[in-house]
Every structure is written in C-alpha cells, then in structure tokens.
C-alpha cells in the first residue's frame, strides 16, 4: 500500500498542468480561503489550510479528499504512514496530519528496544494533542516515553494509556499525564516498577467530589466548578503538571485529577508489587470497573491483545 502511494506521488511531483487542475477536487479561486472551504468540510479539524496552501496539491488529478481516503486505510499511527511521509513534501503534510496520529500502538513494534524518547516525542507531536490511545510495550530505553510532552499538548481525548514493561519510565512521567485529567477508560501499567503502594495511594487520594464552599451545594454548582477546574487546568497544563494542591487553583486541579478515576473501565497493574490495603482502597474509587488485572503471571489471557513476550533463547 505504501509503495503504491509513494509511486503515485510522482504524478503530483511533476507539477500542476492546466488540464489536471480543472479536474482537481479543490475549488478554484484567486484567494486561498475559497480553496480551503471545501477542505474544511472534508477534514474540519485538521490542518486543511496547510494542505491547501501547497500548490503541489492543486494540480493533482486525484485530489486531496481521495488521498485522505486512501491514507485512512493505512494503520493509524503506524510505520506505513511514516514511510508515506518520506515520499515527498505533499505527502509529508497530508500523512502527517493529526487525524492519522490519534492512536499510537507500538506493542507489536519489531524492535521495541530501539525506541527512544525522541522517537515517541515525534509521534506524540504529530497527534497535536488529540491522542486517543497510547500503547507502548517492551521499550527499555524509554525514560519519559514522551508523557510530559503529551500532558503539555493536551490529553482531553486520551481514552487508553497502556505501558507494558517499560521499566525505565519514571513514575513522575506517568503522573504528569494523570495529573492532566485525561478522560481515561483504560489504564494499564503492567510490569512497571513505578507502580507500587505509594503510587496507588496517590491515585486514591485524588479528591473526586467538590467541597461546597458555602452550603450543601447544588449539582449545578458542582458542575460549574468542574468546568472551571478543567478550563483552568487546560489553560496551564504544561506548567501545572507538577503543581500541588496548596492554592485555590491547585485544589481545582486536584479535583479535576480525581474525576477520571471513577470513569475507569479497565485497570491493569499486572506484575506490580502492591499489597492488599492499597489495592482494595483504590478499587473503592472505581465503581465502573469492568476488567481488573492484578496478576503476577507473565502473559495476559483476558485483557485484549497481548504484547510480544521475548524469552531467552534456548
């Protein structure tokens, strides 16, 4: 697929011809705005203007919408898209669009021990703060896994965070994402040394209800407070990642932090050196939990697709 797309890029690289520009899907016009209007309908939330500004695409016979459709068949956030991006400048913009990088799944990476923080930073930056899934396994070189950058860009759409046997990723990096109040449904931190009783305690102590400033407080007051909390947090997500709950704004951030714990449906801390007290108290905060994994077995059986497990050669 990637080779087919790369081969077809020669058509565009050859430059626009008058006949082909008439057949292009892009609306003709003197100014750039007119050309962008149709693109905005195709992809309303990604960098359509940036694509439309490329004169390279204006002469393409297939048109941007068809290329977007073709690229959408490639695995999202995969190596094929990266290869397409290397074909030419037009494909670099098109395949590098954030709409194709909302899911990063490197569990089946052929050489996870080669993954570095810089590599992940590039992938996370491509998502443009719209990441939905983030899954990495067996990447021993990672120190932060680009998680602080992820928290800085925004995690308002992050539904799944899955780190498997990334042994050098620090707890501070994980906490940076969790403090940014992601709407997580799935949290899997398997064989991660940073997951221990203390980490569970931090998870558990995140407040989940709004202390009413005046009287009993109505649900509307709580909801508006939540909105303020999220707004204030997202306004300063990068700077506020390490902030405590000392100030008034800090308490709002702590409040926002605790909201996502109750929404978790999948929680896996396989291989974690945790004890009963911390685990039981944490489970009390997860009323919607559907899948729970606290095992010490080196392979998963229930919770979805298993990452590769590399065993010592016989």
């Amino acid at each position: 697929m990637a080779s087919a797309v790369a081969g077809a890029s020669g058509t565009m690289a050859g430059g626009p011809s008058p006949d082909s520009s008439r057949n292009s899907c892009l609306p003709r016009g003197q100014n750039g705005k007119a050309r962008c209007s149709k693109l905005l309908k195709i992809a309303p939330w990604h960098d359509a203007e940036k694509i439309a500004s490329l004169a390279l695409w204006q002469g393409d016979t297939l048109g941007v919408d068809l290329w977007l459709r073709v690229l959408s068949w490639l695995p999202e956030g995969g190596a094929d898209l990266s290869r397409v991006m290397a074909a030419c400048r037009g494909f670099r913009v098109l395949a590098g669009s954030a709409r194709f990088w909302t899911r990063i799944d490197l569990r089946r990476h052929p050489a996870p021990w080669k993954l570095t923080d810089d590599t992940l930073r590039v992938l996370v930056r491509r998502s443009g703060g719209r990441l939905v899934e983030f899954r990495v396994a067996n990447a021993h070189l990672l120190r932060t896994a680009a998680l602080p950058l992820l928290a800085e860009l925004g995690v308002s759409k992050l539904r799944a965070l899955h780190l498997h046997r990334c042994q050098n990723v620090t707890g501070a990096a994980v906490d940076a994402v969790l403090r940014a109040c992601p709407p997580l449904r799935e949290l899997q931190l398997n064989w991660m040394p940073c997951v221990d009783d203390e980490w569970l305690q931090r998870l558990r102590n995140a407040p989940c209800s709004m202390p009413s400033p005046t009287s009993g407080g109505s649900p509307f007051a709580t909801a508006s407070a939540d909105g303020r909390a999220r707004a204030s947090h997202h306004a300063g997500a990068g700077a506020g990642a390490g902030a405590g709950a000392g100030s008034h704004g800090g308490s709002f951030k702590a409040l926002a932090t605790g909201m996502w714990v109750q929404g978790l449906e999948v929680f896996s801390i396989r291989g974690a050196a945790v004890n009963d007290d911390a685990t039981a108290a944490t489970l009390a905060r997860m009323p919607r939990l559907q899948q729970l994994d606290v095992s010490m077995f080196p392979c998963t059986f229930l919770l979805g697709q298993a990452p590769r497990l590399y065993m010592r050669r016989g």
Binding site: A273, L283, L289, P298, F301, M311
Partner: protein
C-alpha cells in the same frame, strides 16, 4: 531473533506484593460491573473469596486463576462450583500459549 530481549524472573525484579481475599472482596463490593478478573500468580486468594466475588459481581464472565495454589480445586470442576456460565482459566494450555503469543521469539 538475535536481538531478542531476555525477560525472565520478573518477580525478582519488581517484588511480589501480597494480594489476597481482601482485594478480591473489595472488587466484589465496589465494582459491581466487573466482567473479567485476572489474579493469576497470586498465591493467597482463597475459594471463599472467589465465591464471594461471583455472588456479588453478577456480570462476571471470565476469571483467570493460573498458578494460584490455593485455588487448585477449581481445576477439578472447571469453575462450575462457582457459577455455570463462568469461564475459569486454571492452567495454560499449548493452544493458549500459541494464541497469546507467549513464546514468540523462542528459537
């Protein structure tokens, strides 16, 4: 496969911790929507705790108790003593190993 990473003896690297009936009962009390539960490799959960979990979490469909010596009796009846519709995984079969890719990378 020359670059295969050896990942063995994880218990020695991370410690073990203690997960017993307290956690099982907490899951039963606080997580009524629980459907899948994996406690493989933990040595202390008892049959009483698992029975309590099955009574409280009515939506429970899958339980994995591989390498749980205290729950060895489940291997005899396949978990039918808990609930008829429950799938209890008590041992790793070769088919399961192949399905889960457990030995991918072995020369």
């Amino acid at each position: 496969m020359a670059n295969a990473v050896a990942v063995v003896a994880d218990e020695l690297m991370h410690g073990v911790g203690c997960i017993s009936d307290i956690t099982v009962r907490a899951a039963a009390d606080h997580c009524p929507r629980l459907r899948q539960f994996n406690i493989s490799g933990r040595h202390t959960p008892s049959m009483a705790g698992l029975t309590y979990l099955c009574e409280r979490a009515r939506g429970l469909t899958h339980v994995a108790v591989v390498s749980c010596p205290s729950l060895a009796s489940l291997a005899l009846d396949g978990g039918s003593c808990l609930r008829g519709s429950l799938t209890v995984l008590t041992e790793v079969t070769p088919e399961l190993q192949a399905q889960t890719g457990m030995y991918v990378g072995v020369a």
